[in-house]
């Protein structure tokens, strides 16, 4: 019984939160990785693009709420999501046309493009803050929990409860669907294959008649979709605050690099690596060992490896270690 309690404890406080946070990071990391692979620069607008997409999702959610439309026990934001995605895609395509395409035709070095993306980062930030303001917003409605801790306790008769928030379930479900579609697209369709070819060897791809404009456009469209979905899921699960999204850029980059930048599958797993290590290393294991060990061996301290203040620092240290020993990431990305 104690053993089961310990397992449920870990599931509740470690596994489920890490899984949903990891999915949110993974969605971001995939599009950063794609942009890096195909457009060949570090896209510093990543976090703010996510907040841009989330902002429009929120605005549409409010609009639907004012019309009285809702999805019952599901959050209304899911209904608003497609509209948010469309606007985000339009935004990235316009941005590409106005800003990035010039540097592509000039064949500027990647550093230049990264700097330009810092410029667009500032602009996107300004738009988000001017339109919706910098404040913390919650836009979740519908049923909050799938399983409540108390219900679970009653059901199983254990001391520890397992609570699963519906946002966590939605996050997982949506991520699985989106990521499977994406990988199917990249691996099986002709366009996806041409994208991978372009990422692998630009000149060869051009020689074999792949249209670079189309490849670039599809990349931006995928980026817009993933950014909006990832951002909206994060906002549903926690809350929407532009500055948090801006800061989330760092773990996203960490995930993309750990997984091997330019490699979408690596980035997907990298998101989970970062999320799990952040939570595993900063969790206080006292209660876990109280369940497992006999009373005489009960631990005194909190048994926390690092205080939760260092949450961000953990993922960054992992990144530094990975960069040191395997600069191409865990799952070989572009060799640097």
């Amino acid at each position: 019984m104690d053993f089961l309690n310990a397992i449920v404890l870990l599931l509740n406080y470690l596994f489920v939160p890490a899984l949903s946070y990891g999915s949110q990071l993974a969605l971001g990391a995939i599009f950063v990785s794609l942009i890096y692979g195909i457009l060949r620069f570090a896209y510093f607008t990543a976090g703010d693009l996510m907040s841009f997409g989330t902002m429009f999702t929120i605005l549409f959610t409010w609009y639907f709420q004012s019309l009285g439309i809702n999805l019952g026990f599901l959050p209304t934001a899911l209904l608003a999501l497609p509209f948010g995605i469309i606007i985000t895609i339009l935004y990235v395509l316009i941005k590409d046309k106005l800003v990035f395409s010039y540097y592509r035709t000039q064949k500027s070095p990647p550093v230049m493009l990264a700097m330009v993306s810092i410029g667009t980062m500032f602009v996107t930030q300004a738009i988000v803050r001017i339109v919706i303001g910098p404040f913390d917003r919650r836009f979740f409605d519908g049923e909050k929990f799938i399983i409540k801790a108390n219900e679970f306790k009653e059901m199983t008769g254990l001391n520890e409860g397992l609570a699963i928030k519906s946002t966590q379930a939605i996050t997982l479900l949506v991520t699985v669907v989106v990521v499977s579609i994406l990988f199917w697209f990249l691996n099986k369709t002709k366009t996806g294959k041409s994208m991978r070819a372009y990422s692998d060897n630009e000149d060869l791809a051009l020689l074999s008649g792949i249209d670079p404009k189309k490849v670039v456009m599809i990349t931006w469209i995928i980026a817009g979709i993933l950014a909006t979905i990832g951002g909206a899921l994060y906002g549903l699960d926690k809350s929407f605050k532009p500055f948090t999204y801006f800061n989330n850029m760092l773990p996203i980059f960490a995930a993309a690099i750990v997984g091997g930048i330019g490699n979408p599958f690596g980035a997907f797993l990298g998101g989970y690596v970062i999320a799990f290590s952040e939570i595993l290393l900063t969790y206080a294991y006292k209660k876990f060992f109280v369940y497992l060990l006999p009373e005489s061996l009960e631990p005194e301290g909190l048994l926390q490896l690092l205080s939760t203040d260092y949450k961000f620092a953990v993922s960054f240290s992992i990144l530094v270690i990975v960069l040191l020993f395997r600069p191409s990431g865990i799952f070989k990305g572009k060799v640097l």
Partner: protein, 456 residues
Amino acid sequence: MRKNLDIVIAYTIMLGLIILVGFLQSWSMALSILCFCLISAVMTIGANIQWGYAGLINFGIMGYTALGGLAAVLVSVPPVQEAWQAGGLNMILCAFLIAFIVFSVRFVVKKYNRSRKRNYGIATIIIVGLILLRLISAPAIESIEAVDPATTGFLGGMGLPILFSWIVGAFFAGALAYIIGKIALGLRADYLAIATLLISEIVISIIKHEDWLARGVKNVIGLKRPVPYEVDLQSKEWFIKLVEKFNQGTLNLINNTIERQEVLKQLIIESSTVFVKLCFVGLFTVVVIILLIITQKALYSPWGRMMRAIRDNEEAANAMGKNVVKQHLLIFVLGSAIVGIAGAMMVTYDGLFTPGSYRPMRYTFLIWVMVIVGGSGNNFGAILGGFAVWFLWVEAAPISLFLINFFTSGLDETNALKIHLVNSIPYFRFLMMGVGLLLIMRYRPKGILPEKIKHI
């Protein structure tokens, strides 16, 4: 003169703008803008050395700035005797332990060949060392933080004049840069950018959460100043006379003695803040000029030529027998050390150390905008960028208020759109930064004052 006409014009316009602020808003405001312009100028000199001379991207700027600030605290605050008694010995022990771990790892790395066994050995040394460190430091940290937590709760510093910290800050930042450089300099440009950004984030989170070091987010306030305090000035005989002399004209117009005294008192209070800021401006200008002279000399020396050669064609420079790795490390350390000076200067000016306000994500990019807008590779350009961008950053609110009022003048005061826009004025500065950066990158990619290479 002819050759440098653009520099002269650009700087005259910049100073003119600051003086305009003095006339339109207040002199105190103008001078504090000028102070921060000078501090940003020091930072941009540091970033420009790395980016403009050597083509290294360093996004770790805020980390070095924070370390410079930490140096200011550690140098100027008097030591807290009780805290030292409570846990000083253990902390010193920890320092030795860290040194021991580092040296033993180095020893193992040097002595044995690369193998699985060696990796396990290193891992064991580090893990055992960390556990020992935790065991020794935990009780000490607790007792140090328990010493009068409302005012101290940390080890304190050395109690020296704060001006020393400008040098110490440079050394701190340089040391950090040495470590980062050893780790990360082999990476490709944009990887290096991200890695340094993340490392600076780590450094700041350590400073924020290790309360025994510098009180963390509880802040250290009331640092000593290298210039006189306003309150002291207001009672000084010579200062009152000076103010009287400067404002002879206005004072003579007032006949009533009591009223005259009142006006004089007001003037003295106002001019004391201006005087203090002028002192700071003087100090900072000296630093900027010294750095400018040194960096200009370096730029046109054989060493500067070598750096440009490395920047423009690494492989060719390598083939010519230049040690690229060593030079990169050197310039990385030098540039970071200069940023460290700026960090110490900033804390000196503010008189307080607030680790919570160091936001790498925000200010790092601002400094980079300064360097790129000003003109990378050209020190005058970088400094001008520091001035112009900081000026815009501060003055963005009044400018955008003016613009909003101008463009929405057709709408009435209660219009929802207008109210919304006026309320979001602070965020227009991001728009200005972004649009400015994009325009400069597109139409003047070398910056306002582009790099000039003298051919001898």
